[in-house]
């Protein structure tokens, strides 16, 4: 997953969180009791409203159209081309506008004069925010009648925000989507099936890495993706497991740079020992103790797994997985080549130049490491474990919400963001691998200013040995709880074996409660 902004903007004050929870609760509960469907609250009030402006403010949903009085007939034209089948409320509103207010202004012929406003929600750090705004500016320049409003939030806040917006029927037209959440969103029936749009516009899905299409396909009722209708489209194939190294420190120690054949137990460990120097507070590495790409990958490379394949229980305390976790523990407490993790560091530790190797869980960190001037660095291939190399990857994409009033215009924008060369290349400055194969392999991408020379190595990972995590219902919760349990070991409070047992217990309790009567 991209863009963790833990320091984040605390957008919620204590009171507003509680009040918000309870107010949303009250509204939605009443609506649910009244009609059986939560989503009817906003639209049901629209027909009753007497004036157009009231109707517009009543349906605060991210909708376009009839807000500007000048485009009365134009907006009804929009309604007839794209909105008509679904939204009776919007049609009523448009009609009210044309009869009540807009007669003096001659409307432009056809829909061309209508300014359409799309809303786009995404998770973003400051770098990603700049990229989104750049994409929007480029699109608006090419399409002067379209205005795109972006709503950004840091990763963890974003999912709270979107799900709350969906519940109150105010979700953006286009939402950034992660493989970690697509299953939940499809199950809740809130994202649009994109197949017909892809067909109408004759898009070639063969442009993408296969995984970047398969991830977003879900058959009806299936908990796991892979086949069925398409519910989102990728902009990248983010390689989570990313091995950064400090070339300057390797040069100083006269050590050879990491190669394709490096293994954890032999090459990584011996290099780390040679590069650790307590006197100058220099460490051989930041051990692979972060979730979702680092310790998960080692568990797989040792032949273990996080949870059982039937999605029923945690398997981190099984011998293979435990051996991997023990190896990480030993890097910190036996070999002493890495400090324990520091959740309070406000500056990414690798950028201080005191760590020779850094095993990260996101290739997107390239975007912030580009600014490093005090030392040379590069990306090497992720090291292999006893059972070979397994790299965790994770496509990120965008989905269209079912509540959108303008699916066609939204899809056109989506196409620019995730399909057209221009959009994809603007996104790719973030560092993650583009979803379109030809662009990912192009010099235009690989040789951009500030990019590490070794970036191309990750192309091999996506073809040869990468996999996704188990994302499904309850993922956000068991991922958080198991990671916290393992941190007991990384912080030296418990042995790896005990922490792994705790992690399994936490995973078990979450998975067992899925679909049950609890919580």
């Amino acid at each position: 997953m991209s863009a963790f902004d833990q320091g984040g903007l605390g957008r919620f004050s204590r009171r507003s969180v509680i009040a918000g929870a309870l107010v949303t609760g009250a509204g939605a509960l009443l609506a649910a009791c009244g009609s059986g469907a939560v989503v009817t609250t906003a639209s049901s009030s629209a027909p009753a409203a007497t004036s157009a402006s009231q109707a517009v403010s009543a349906t605060t949903a991210a909708q376009t159209s009839s807000a500007s009085a000048s485009s009365a007939s134009a907006s009804s034209a929009v309604a007839s081309t794209s909105v008509a089948p679904t939204s009776s409320a919007a049609v009523t509103t448009a009609a009210a506008t044309s009869s009540a207010a807009a007669t003096p202004v001659p409307a432009a012929p056809g829909a061309s004069g209508a300014a359409t406003t799309l809303t786009w929600g995404g998770w973003a750090d400051t770098v990603q925010m700049g990229i989104f705004n750049d994409i929007i500016a480029a699109y608006q320049k090419a399409n002067p009648t379209i205005k795109v409003n972006a709503q950004f939030a840091p990763w963890s806040d974003y999912w709270q925000k979107v799900q709350t917006q969906l519940a109150s029927n105010t979700a953006p037209d286009l939402i950034e989507m992660s493989v970690a959440y697509i299953g939940n969103f499809v199950a809740k029936n809130v994202v649009l099936n994109l197949d017909s749009y892809v067909q109408t516009r004759k898009l070639d899905l063969g442009r993408y890495w296969p995984v970047d299409v398969a991830t977003w396909r879900f058959a009806a009722g299936s908990k796991v993706g892979g086949q069925g209708p398409l519910y989102a489209m990728s902009y990248d194939a983010s390689i989570n497991s990313t091995f950064f190294y400090n070339k300057t420190l390797f040069d100083k120690a006269k050590l050879p740079y990491p190669t394709d054949s490096w293994t954890w137990e032999k090459d990584v460990l011996s290099a780390a020992k040679a590069l650790t120097d307590p006197a100058s507070q220099q460490w051989g590495m930041l051990a692979p103790y972060v979730a979702d790409g680092a310790w998960t990958s080692l568990v797989w490379e040792w032949g273990g797994d996080t949870i059982s394949s039937d999605y029923s229980k945690g398997t981190l305390s099984q011998p293979e997985a435990l051996a991997a976790l023990q190896f990480i523990y030993d890097l910190v407490y036996t070999q002493k080549v890495s400090p324990p993790p520091d959740s309070s560091a406000k500056v990414p530790p690798f950028t201080t130049g005191k760590f020779a190797m850094y095993f990260s869980n996101c290739d997107c960190e390239i975007s912030s490491f580009k600014k490093i001037t005090s030392f040379e660095w590069d990306v090497a291939r992720w090291p292999a474990g006893p059972k070979g190399r397994v790299v965790e990857m994770e496509p990120d994409g965008h989905a269209i919400t079912k509540s959108t009033k303008q699916p066609d215009q939204t899809f056109d924008f989506l196409k620019f963001v995730v399909y057209d060369d221009d959009g994809i290349m603007r996104q790719s400055t973030y560092g993650t691998l583009p979803a379109v194969q030809s662009l990912a392999q192009s010099d235009k991408y690989l040789k951009q200013p500030g990019f590490p020379a070794g970036k191309y190595l990750q192309l091999k990972d996506i073809v040869e040995g990468s996999r996704e995590n188990y994302f499904g219902q309850g993922w956000a919760e068991w991922e958080d709880k198991s990671d916290k349990a393992l941190q007991q070991a990384w912080l030296g409070k418990k042995s790896a074996a005990d922490a792994a047992k705790d992690a399994d217990a936490a995973i078990d309790s979450v998975l067992q409660h899925l679909g049950g009567s609890l919580f």
Binding site: Q6, G7, G8, L9, G10, F12, S13, R14, V17, I18, A19, A21, L22, V23, T24, G25, A26, A28, L29, L30, A32, G36, A37, V38, S156, W159, Q160, Q163, T164, L166, A167, K188, V190, P341, D342, S343, S344, A345, K346, V347, P349, T352, A476, E477, D480, K484, Q487, Q488, L491, K493, S509, S517, L518, F519
Partner: protein
């Protein structure tokens, strides 16, 4: 006669009062009482915010007591926070208020300085303290380093994270309590001090026999408010630690937030909210019962 009643009704102050109260009353009913009732009902459901809620009876409350270790951990952390920050906050702010009650040069400046954190946003304060605590570049470790103390990872170490947050909370609350104490102190008649002085009472005796008894209603008020506020601590942990490391700073309100808005267990979160409500209610009632023994009203 009907007309007479109407006129009397319109002229009566009672009507005017209700009309003036109406906006607040509507707000109270709609945005406070409504959610309170809804939250109570939601606490008996299983609800993920997007699909329809299912009635599960007391299951949420049972799970909390028997299965969920985090509910106990978060209540424990919150109690720890309350037990330290309330007495420390009350005593410190009383001392500062007494200092600020003296005729010292620049007293207005000091009062403003102590009150400033109260009118600042907690989030901004927490972000700044996060930098003060930063292990590598933080001011605190820099100062400690000058006297030879090795860097401390304040917010990353489970045993120092909570105390670090307590310090921020106490510091932030000082000014508000100070202002209330200051008002209380200035309401104590000077004659009483003069009389005590003539009777030969030393400074500490004056403090114990005049200040404390006459200030006891203020102390009571400040303590009740501090306890209620401390039980609801959220902003600091949300911004500075996200409940970590190892749940060391997972307070009950943070946990409610996590259950409700990160894991979307609205029913369970509502049930936790009601437990918190019950705890605060019991503490407050207890204080009102105990006040008879030590609070003196003139």
């Amino acid at each position: 006669m009907a007309r007479g009643t109407l006129v009397r009704l319109l002229e009566s102050e009672r009507i005017t009062a209700y009309v003036l109260l109406l906006p607040t009353l509507v707000g109270l009913l709609l945005f406070t009482l409504g959610p309170v009732v809804a939250g109570f009902l939601i606490s008996f459901t299983r609800w993920d915010l997007t699909s329809a809620p299912q009635w599960v009876g007391l299951a949420n409350y049972q799970a909390m007591l028997s299965q969920d270790p985090l509910s106990r951990i978060s209540l424990g952390n919150t109690s720890y926070f309350v037990v330290v920050t309330v007495p420390a906050g009350v005593v410190l702010s009383l001392l500062i208020a007494m200092a600020m009650n003296q005729k010292i040069r620049g007293v207005v400046f000091y009062r403003t300085a102590f009150f400033l954190p109260v009118v600042s946003s907690t989030v901004a304060i927490a972000l700044i303290w996060e930098w003060l605590y930063e292990p590598q570049y933080g001011l605190l470790n820099y100062v400690l380093g000058m006297v030879g103390v090795p860097p401390v990872r304040w917010l990353a170490n489970p045993s120092t994270a909570m105390p670090a947050i307590m310090i921020v909370s106490i510091w932030r609350g000082l000014g508000f309590n100070m202002v209330i104490f200051l008002a209380g102190l200035q309401a104590i008649p000077r004659e009483l001090y003069e009389a005590a002085e003539i009777d030969g009472a030393a400074a500490f005796a004056r403090f114990r026999s005049v200040t404390i008894p006459l200030l006891s209603p203020t102390i009571f008020f400040v303590t009740v408010l501090s306890i209620i506020n401390s039980f609801q601590v959220f902003d600091q942990t949300y911004v500075m630690t996200q409940g970590g490391p190892l749940n060391a700073t997972t307070t009950i309100v943070f946990y409610i937030f996590q259950q409700g808005f990160q894991w979307f267990h609205m029913g369970y979160a509502a049930a936790l909210g009601y437990i918190l409500f019950a705890v605060i209610l019991v503490f407050t009632l207890l204080q009102f019962k105990l006040q008879r023994t030590w609070v003196h009203y003139e």
